[in-house]
């Protein structure tokens, strides 16, 4: 009986290792790819390590593509993502608080609407948003992205849950009796306790904004406005490794290692955030959950 128990354990670990290889393998490949030259990538085994020198060379090649275009894209990603996250936090935290801890007519309806909108996938609204932005002449400006990014019903819902569960009701009641205005209650009681939820909402918002493709794809109309996610397929299309028809014109050419390097740059910020938040995300906040 005990032996069988251990046998199951070992089988489970083996299966988990196989899946770990599936999930992690592509990432390792990606990190190793820029250390090799294009022909090395094709001819050597996929997970071979090339050299640090090659890595640096690929980075330089990529950055010099069309005069810093990749850095412009990185800057754009940062502006859109951080801008959107700031707006999302600014709107979601007070809204969650209001839904959780104040009374007003329509509170329940607003909550229900939020839940519904939260589940409708964002991409369903991209074309309609484009048409609307079109009408108010915002297409091609940063606001066509920051405003939709700032609309984050999921963040409102998280904040609502957070404030309902962590602010002691009696504390609020006492503060109100003491004559603190609603704003005072919010500022003195809720805000100081809000750091974890601000971080959580900011995290989800930032990741969603940074990885968003369809909305920026539709809203921007110039090379220099693209965020990294939209720029990546542009690089792909102009890489002779992927598309033999791509002409080169004597400029810095993007082959496979440069493509991999571009992908690394595109995911690096979120990857770093994941690494730093790993403790909280995996072990802490998300893992805790409902208790009936």
């Amino acid at each position: 009986m005990l032996a069988r128990h251990y046998a199951y354990r070992i089988i489970a670990i083996l299966i988990l290792l196989v899946f770990a290889a599936f999930f992690f393998g592509p990432i390792i490949w990606l990190l190793l790819a820029p250390t090799k030259t294009d022909s090395q990538i094709i001819n050597q085994t996929p997970l071979a390590f090339g050299s640090f020198g090659t890595f640096g060379h690929m980075f330089h090649q990529l950055i010099s593509y069309e005069g810093d275009l990749v850095l412009t894209w990185l800057k754009n990603s940062a502006i859109y993502s951080f801008g959107g996250t700031a707006l999302a936090v600014l709107a979601a935290i007070p809204a969650g608080y209001g839904l959780a801890l104040t009374h007003f007519v329509g509170r329940r309806a607003l909550l229900a609407i939020t839940l519904v909108v939260m589940i409708v996938p964002a991409t369903a609204l991209v074309l309609p948003l484009f048409l609307e932005a079109n009408t108010v002449h915002l297409v091609g400006t940063v606001w066509s992205l920051i405003l939709p990014f700032g609309f984050f019903p999921f963040g409102v819902y998280l904040a609502y849950i957070y404030f309902s569960t962590t602010i002691p009701k009696d504390l609020i009641g006492a503060a109100r009796i003491d004559g603190a205005g609603e704003w005072g209650v919010f500022r003195r009681i809720a805000l100081p306790l809000a750091t974890p939820i601000v971080a959580l909402v900011a995290f989800f918002s930032f990741v969603a904004n940074w990885n968003n493709y369809y909305l920026p794809f539709v809203m921007t109309y110039d090379n220099s406005q693209y965020p990294l996610q939209v720029g990546l397929p542009i690089l792909l299309g102009s890489s002779p490794s992927i598309n033999p028809v791509a002409a080169t014109g004597g400029q810095a050419v993007i082959y496979r290692p440069e493509m991999a390097m571009a992908t690394i740059i595109a995911i690096a910020p979120v990857l770093l955030v994941f690494l730093f938040a790993q403790r909280t995300l995996v072990a802490g906040m998300l893992a805790g959950s409902t208790k009936e």
Binding site: N134, S224, G237, P244, V245, A247, T248, G250
Partner: protein, 467 residues
């Protein structure tokens, strides 16, 4: 405009004023936000805005050298390549919200089927150039190539930049080694015959391929098979049962060479066939430098002086026609505030030897008076430069005008129907994939609102039910 901001329906006056304030702030910031480009010239005259791709940067330099101090803003974009539809989407947007000052006056477009789409309804965004460009110049382009710039109503809406006509590329050294002094084949059957000799005596070498994303431009366009033939306004003929189509399919499928001396893998792409083993193949003239990579330090390239270009083979029905893959266009926007200057710039770029003589990489100028100087600059890049130059010029004049321009890419339809079939294990044949290819083309045509003419029951049925 819908009044989405109907504040009366919202509760609370304070709420209304808050939203109004927010709207004002947002609008103010939107107006102050930087637009697509940061051109703020102090000169009173607005610069001409020209969109080019990275390959035309040498053209920009040549232009500025020939016209120093010209008031031009050059913007790099992706050349509308590969069906990314950048111009289509921008034009569609601007047609709705009004053309901004950052919109281009002149554009280089690498897709040779775009001009007619953008110059006719619902776009109608291209300048009619016959008013600005002399008729003698318009007649100076190779063969029937200007049909790509002529709308059904006869308007000229673009100028050709280069021609990407298909020639027969031959590895001179290998050919002499295997075939001695025998003349290079002038027909598709001749190519197949050579391939059969290779298969018997020297396996591992190829005389062509059917596994690439754009072989339809060589195999069907070059043989006059009507799969993309414009026969009227918004009407296309797609006829896979035409004799030209069936003849070339049979020739290749029955040659016994597919998967052998006719490669069914990608040539030149990862896992495909190495360039050094290509004895001959039909391909566009820019293959010589961009794909065979003469002399460049590429893993699969061949050294300078290896490849020579020969005239393309006659079609299977004996006609001196050939296909093409590419060949860019110069477009002028009909919304330009300086149409004469814009048209003049486009004409300069398209016809001036100062621009068109730039480098072997750029492709043969479509404007025939510029061709001699261009092929004279081959130097030692190709074997037999005199023959290669003549072959280029001949091919340019032979491009069949029965293929497009239509607002969809035949290559995409080929890539999604024939390529998976012929590259699979076991491989399918061209004949077996023909109907699904033609059907995909018919679907693209109907999606774009065109009428499809065909004698094929399969194509005329809805959704391919008759196939």
């Amino acid at each position: 405009m819908k009044s989405f901001f109907n504040l009366k329906s919202w509760r609370g006056r304070s709420l209304r004023s808050r939203v109004a304030f927010a709207a004002v702030v947002v609008t103010g910031l939107a107006l102050a936000a930087p637009g697509a480009s940061t051109a703020t010239t102090m000169s009173s005259k607005k610069p001409l805005i020209v969109w080019i791709d990275t390959s035309r940067i040498p053209y920009e330099q040549a232009y500025m050298k020939a016209n120093p101090g010209a008031n031009i803003k050059w913007v790099i974009y992706n050349g509308n390549e590969n069906g990314t539809g950048v111009l289509q989407s921008k034009f569609a947007l601007w047609n709705r919200i009004g053309w901004p000052s950052v919109a281009p006056d002149v554009m280089f477009d690498s897709q040779n089927y775009d001009a007619v789409q953008l110059g006719t309804a619902p776009y109608n965004d291209l300048l009619s150039l016959s008013k600005y460009v002399p008729a003698s110049v318009l007649k100076g382009y190779a063969g029937h190539s200007m049909s790509a710039c002529t709308t059904p109503s006869g308007k000229i809406v673009c100028l050709r930049n280069d021609t990407a006509a298909d020639v027969l590329w031959v590895n001179q050294g290998l050919y002499t080694k295997f075939f001695g002094k025998a003349p290079v084949p002038t027909t598709w059957s001749g190519i197949v015959a050579d391939g059969q000799m290779l298969k018997k005596g020297h396996p591992g070498y190829t005389v062509g391929d059917i596994g690439d994303e754009f072989d339809d431009d060589f195999i069907y366009w070059g043989n006059g098979c009507p799969l993309d033939q414009v026969v009227g306004a918004n009407t296309v003929e797609i006829d896979p049962t035409n004799l030209a189509c069936t003849k070339i399919n049979n020739l290749l499928d029955n040659s016994g060479l597919e998967g052998n001396a006719i490669s069914t893998t990608y040539v030149f792409a990862a896992g495909g066939f190495p360039a050094a083993k290509v004895v001959m193949m039909v391909g566009p003239l820019w293959y010589g430098t961009a794909v065979f990579e003469n002399g460049k330090k590429a893993p699969d390239g061949v050294p300078n002086g290896t490849m020579a270009a020969y005239p393309p083979p006659l079609s299977v029905l004996g006609k001196p026609i050939t296909g093409a893959l590419g060949g860019g266009l110069w477009l002028v926007s009909s919304h330009s505030s300086q149409p004469a200057a814009a048209a003049a710039l486009a004409e300069f770029m398209s016809t001036s030897p100062k621009v068109q003589a730039v480098g072997v990489d750029a492709g043969l100028p479509d404007y025939t008076p510029d061709q001699a100087a261009y092929v004279g600059s081959f130097g030692s890049v190709f074997a037999n430069p005199v023959v290669s130059g003549k072959a280029w010029e001949t091919a340019a004049a032979e491009v069949w005008n029965g293929w497009g321009p239509t607002p969809w890419s035949t290559d995409a339809a080929w890539a999604s129907t024939v390529v998976p079939g012929v590259t699979a294990t076991p491989p399918s044949t061209l004949g077996k994939q023909m109907n699904s290819f033609a059907l995909a083309l018919a679907n693209d045509a109907r999606l774009a609102g065109w009428t499809v003419k065909s004698t094929s029951k399969c194509i005329n049925s809805f959704g391919g039910s008759g196939c």
